[in-house]
Subunit: 147 residues, 2 copies
DNA sequence: CTGGATGCAAAGGTTTTGCACGCTA
DNA sequence: TAGCGTGCAAAACCTTTGCATCCAG
C-alpha cells in the first residue's frame, strides 16, 4: 500500500470507488491534527483537539471527515465496519477475514497463514500477550452489491 | 466522552487460572450455541439464537456471559477494549499494539514484524484487500494498575 | 445457605442522520 | 453557481449497570 502526500483527494479505493473530496478547513484541520500525532486518537479526542482551532466544528463533521479521509487513504481507520463485537466458539489458533462493507467475519483456512509472532516481546512499553492477523476484504454478497 | 473503561479485560489471560464460574443454563446455552456455529455472531445474534431455547433470557445476561466466557478462554472475543474507533495519520506500513485494558494503541517498530501477507488471495469466498497484524497486551500504565 | 447470576429497565456512550445554510471549486 | 460539506440536534445503536430476586454449588 503506497501512500499519498497531499494528493488530489479524488481518490480511487482499491476496486474503483471514486470519492469526492473538497478540502474544507475542517477537513484540513482534522488531517493536520492526525498527521501531527503519533498517538491513535479516537473521534472524540480528535474533536477536542480540532476544537481548539475551530471552536464551532461539530462532532458529526469530525466523523464524516474521518470516514472520507479513510476512504481516500489519507488516514488509517484502525477498526472497520459497524462495530459490534463478534465472538468465536473456536478457541484454536486460526485467522479471520472481515468484510469491509458488512462486517461479517469468516475463518481463514488454518494452514493458510501462521502469524509467526514472537511469543513474548515488549513493544512500545507494552507487555504483549498475543498477536493476531486479520484479513480485510469483501464477502461474496457485498462484492456483488457494491458498484 | 472518552471513557477510560472500568473494563478489566481479564483476571488471567495467558495464565491458566480460572474465573469464578457457575455453569448456569444460560451460560451453557450461550456456549453451546457458539460452539455449534462456525459463523462469528454478534451479541445480538447470539441473543436471538439462545432465546429460542430460553425465551426469557435477557440481553444483559448474554453480554455478561460472553465476557465471562472470554475471560476464561472458553470462547474468543474478536475485538477488545471499550471500542471507539481509532485513527492513524501515518498511512505507511506498520503494526499496532493495543492495550487490553484501556484500549490505547501504539505503533510497533516498523522493522519489528513484517506480516508476510499473500497480497491478493481469496479466503472463504472473500476478496481480500489487505491484512493486518495486531498485538495485544497491557500498556505501562495499565500494567501498574492491574490486580 | 450464600454469593454469584439473572431479568428488567434505565442509563451511558458512540456514531449516524435529517435539514437548512454556508462555502469550495 | 452547484452541490458537497457544515452545524445542530435528535435518533439510532450497542453495551453496561443497579437492583431485587433466583439458584447453583
Amino acid at each position: 500500500m503506497s501512500q499519498s502526500s497531499s494528493r488530489d483527494a479524488s481518490a480511487t479505493l482499491a476496486g474503483g470507488h471514486r470519492i469526492s473530496a473538497r478540502m474544507t478547513k475542517q477537513r484540513a484541520a482534522i488531517l493536520a491534527e492526525l498527521r501531527a500525532l503519533t498517538s491513535h486518537p479516537t473521534a472524540c479526542e480528535i474533536y477536542a483537539l480540532v476544537r481548539r482551532k475551530l471552536p464551532r466544528i461539530s462532532l458529526g463533521t469530525v466523523y464524516r471527515n474521518l470516514d472520507t479521509l479513510a476512504e481516500s487513504n489519507e488516514i488509517l481507520k484502525l477498526e472497520y465496519a459497524g462495530f459490534q463485537k463478534r465472538f468465536d466458539g473456536n478457541t484454536g489458533a486460526h485467522q479471520h477475514v472481515r468484510c469491509l462493507r458488512c462486517g461479517k467475519v469468516a475463518d481463514v483456512d488454518p494452514e493458510m497463514e501462521a502469524p509467526a509472532v514472537p511469543d513474548k516481546l515488549r513493544v512500545a512499553g507494552f507487555t504483549v500477550q498475543f498477536a493476531r492477523v486479520e484479513f480485510f476484504g469483501f464477502c461474496a454478497e457485498c462484492r456483488g452489491n457494491r458498484l
